[in-house]
Symmetry: D2
């Protein structure tokens, strides 16, 4: 109800603020018997870790996860799995100057409007720090899915207006931006450099694909799989748009072009993105998320303070130029959490 | 869990198939004391009614709603409101030829994969007929919202690749497509005519705006208002993409352009679409849905039958050329249901 | 949230008031493929029907159920099953004299306090009439359970202070009170006669047993099977106490007496009522419900009206002497609904 | 769904096993602005702490709670409150001899049947240790309630068959058993001594009263306040029966005796236990829980092992003679959690 829980059967509750003691997640409803340990989760968390160059800030967050419950002799027991990541790099002092100011593009003012109180230290609960807990929980979902042959991968298909023409996954694995088009990746890095010099930030588009997903997942009519994926990705702070398969391009298409013909060997095309009438059709699931530019920019901006007076701010510090690529494992985590939940939901009534 | 319920506090469950006895909705959690009658609901239902020309099919569905419970002496009592709409124009015979065939772009095959059984009569539960119940329930949500000064309006901003340059609401009220650009509306009608002659269908884009929405609605982190709206709109059969505010355009923007400056008089711009960090900011809420072309086309298509043999089909009958404009009140209904629920959720912890 | 929905996976929403148009239930989450028709449901409904003598009132409620959706060619489709029972015997006029009065022992005053509005016609939503919808939905749950070898039976073990010494199910089938002790049943009927003459009413105790229930149902720690059964039975209007196995007698026992020894052939005794640590242990499930006397009595009572003035009332009309035996199928229905839901919940994570 | 979450708006998820790293609770949906600190929670936890004599075992569990999130500058922020209690006194070695054995009266066999895996260390998740997290969360609920004038108190009204004749709250505060009848308390202590010498254990009855509760809480028809309280109390491991107001005694009463007359000054009696038609009536709420004897007894018992062979066990160690009095604050916590949730639910639709 208060929004910190995700999923119906495979159900995750996250907690924690950017500059509090820790962030964490509790998974309730994970099936028993999965071989789980901290290294498996840590591997996903490390992919979310800030780098030392490019679009990422130079901060270091070790983000060491601990499993506090739900595991016995190396296997899940079916009881709640509590995950915790202590916050070690919390410089709350550096936010004191933001105490009375509403940063443009941030949730400062809406949190205050909603709760009548605001944790101004680095965005509190609204910080991207919260996504560490999602990635940790998502790693457990990924483990469950991989046991059923389902694989989820996200990558960058646009950054700062530069788009990709290829889906070369081997190329994506080699560059820091997880961009499946080597040439585009180089241009994106150039763009980042230029924008960094201007104290500005960039948005982009992430595509997530799930292979091996069986037909039959998704619950008509309100819990369609595409609706659930849309909500899942849109629940990531920076995401402002989501599309499935051809998405917005389908709006300009015709029925004869957009329909995927069925053949004895499967679908002849995949305009639908692997989902028909809200239910997976066995084809590859394809979903894209539009990521807005990070609102914390180095350039001076005009805003207001708590007294509703005009003030100018310049947000210094260790901020990223783009939510990409750090948002990549977060997008994967949300898709994993969604698919794991719908997989179990389907199992319930089979 | 099985997907036919929407909302946490203002909670709607719909039921019914296109060619069954009736479709209906039960609203649980509607506050007591609202002045409600069948005419209020009928007004919204009538807007969903098929017309006699243009993009709509010539069928006639009277769609008379009855309130079966939850009202006493003209006011809601706080107990469940049961709404029913009997199906009168159900020609199930005309679907007999589709009994063994999977129509391209439809959920025929995914329903069979999911449930092991399929109601082949006009799509059964997957039919757009189901949305009549949503519109009926949405009218009650709209009544609740209007008591708090919130108004929700949807209109067509693209059809068949033709886009609008204006948001002239007076114009939208005058044409059948609810298109706020008179000149574009004319070109859209031309396009419809051409495509109808070819036995093909069209997609488009619907924009929904909510004015008067107070700041503070939305539940971080997984039940963000934008995520909930995305899920709500994507739960409509034909919708393949959703965006909030600048949406996908924000992905190609920069932070300095995309941030909405705060001024003592409110936000200087509205790139965010009225939602910051998942919480309404008091500005107009703007959300768009990409609507795919209707998959039932008059042209011959190749597909397979239950034995997985190749067959050709030509879907005749009384189908629309586009889900637009009939999808317009459905989009409004889903946004109304979402906002009504979040309004009450916010009230709970205030 | 507003309380008219029961179950997580096998989920039922009921609606309707005693003197409205109809009462009904929508089942969402029923597995596909069950052979269901109206006769199956009607059989359970008929057991709830008022008789012509004894503890029951002389009213006649035909209570004909109709299935409006969710069935195709005689089988459930996995989509919502909408059930409706029209109210035919609604004499709302006879309640006009109660319009301004709070009947002792009824929810008249609490409904008004809660909702600020009250449907005074026969108790509205608080009427036992509402349980017809539960019994209808419970019949579908029973069908699901019987396919897995689970059988639920309720019977009377106390009425008006007269208790049973036997569990002779053959005897229970022969008397109107479903009392498994022939001799006690006769004394209960005598008691009813005497109390009827005095214009008073009686309570009693119902025992429900479920056989064939597999081990492993129940969700620690908050959704224990016994907790769920307690809530289920206590949600029936007249029930004021619930116990599992030895229940309150266990409170006066010792560990050595109360523990059920395990043997290679199963448990040596069943003090636990078939539930250990909130999970079914494979033994017979035994639960009892304390039923209070019907508050509508023929004798004059003192109460207050809307103006908080003292008034005397004498509730005439066609009221039963005891909620027993009509509550028997309602108790069965609630246990069936609970077990069906937990059966599917267990299937989800197996 | 998997049972470790309680509440709809004020929603608590607990995690942790008796011999794992820690136990904890996450509260989602606590209103912002409450003045909360660890001392407030610790005070309730300390009441649950094992003593050094009487019915309690000589173990020492410091049970120091830490608040990990959700508080800023001494007040709740409306975001999730994560509470953790590290396990310090975990002697898992002493359970190695139980590794292959199913203890009578415990959940050993049902956990194995349910999950296919069992944490044999002290009962794992089924241990009473889990209730520490409930008490911690309940303290936050109690804080919320006390701000609205609602007070919840539990006490012992029966132990080992000895019952109380008084409700002298001053007396209850003075004895270790929270027994409101000084003379009965002395006899209970005598009984405990005798039973301890025999290596046996005792059950009892706890009564919980809530004063100051406004009329109007409770959600007909399935989420009645009494049903919710029944489920809440029955979710405590040892509880086998629950009753509201006169409870099982009402089953032997008549309508004229059991009805509470309304007067201009309130109800003339309180047979209903403060709840009518599932909704609080403004009177004192009275609920009782039947607590079974602790199944871990010092006497030799016959049982089976994993191979289903007969074995004898004698459970030594530091076990309590009765769940009373340590269950007292747990009962209070569950009632506080229930009332806090229903209080906010009512606020949502007011």
């Amino acid at each position: 109800m208060a929004g910190n829980t995700f999923g119906e059967i495979f159900r995750v509750t996250t907690w924690g603020e950017s500059h509090g003691t820790a962030v964490g997640a509790t998974i309730d409803g994970c099936p028993p018997g999965l071989e789980l340990n901290e290294d498996i989760i840590q591997a996903d968390l490390d992919r979310r870790r800030p780098g030392t160059g490019g679009a990422a800030s130079p901060r270091k967050e070790p983000d060491k996860v601990q499993i506090l419950s739900g595991i016995f002799e190396g296997r899940t027991t079916g009881t709640p799995i509590s995950l915790i990541i202590f916050n070690k790099d919390a410089h709350s002092k550096s936010y004191d100057n933001l105490r009375d100011i509403f940063r443009p593009g941030h949730g400062d003012i809406t949190y205050l409007e909603k709760y009548g109180i605001r944790d101004y230290r680095g965005g509190g609960r609204a910080s991207a720090r919260e996504t560490a807990a999602r990635v940790a929980a998502g790693a457990v979902a990924r483990l469950l899915l991989s046991g059923h042959g389902i694989k989820v991968t996200a990558f960058t298909i646009a950054l700062g207006g530069i788009t990709t023409n290829q889906r070369d996954m081997a190329a994506a694995a080699k560059n820091r931006l997880f961009c499946p088009d080597e040439e585009a990746a180089l241009r994106m890095e150039e763009k980042i450099k230029g924008v960094r010099a201007q104290g500005d930030t960039l948005g982009g588009v992430v595509e997530v694909r799930a292979t091996g997903c069986p037909a039959g997942l998704g619950e008509p009519v309100f819990d369609k799989l595409d609706g659930a994926l849309a909500r899942a990705l849109m629940s990531i702070g920076a995401v402002k748009g989501v599309e499935i398969g051809d998405g917005f391009a389908a709006a300009a298409s015709t029925g004869s072009q957009n329909n995927d013909s069925l053949t004895p060997d499967g679908f002849a095309s995949n305009h639908s993105g692997g989902i028909l009438a809200g239910i997976s059709n066995g084809d590859e699931i394809i979903v894209r998320a539009a990521v807005k530019p990070i609102p914390s920019i180095g350039r001076e901006q005009q805003t207001i303070n708590l007294k509703h007076e005009i003030v100018n701010i310049k947000i210094g510090g260790r901020h990223d130029i783009s939510a990409i690529p750090r948002i990549i494992p977060v997008c994967e985590a949300m898709v994993c959490l969604t698919l794991a939940d719908f997989f179990l939901r389907q199992q319930a009534v089979k």
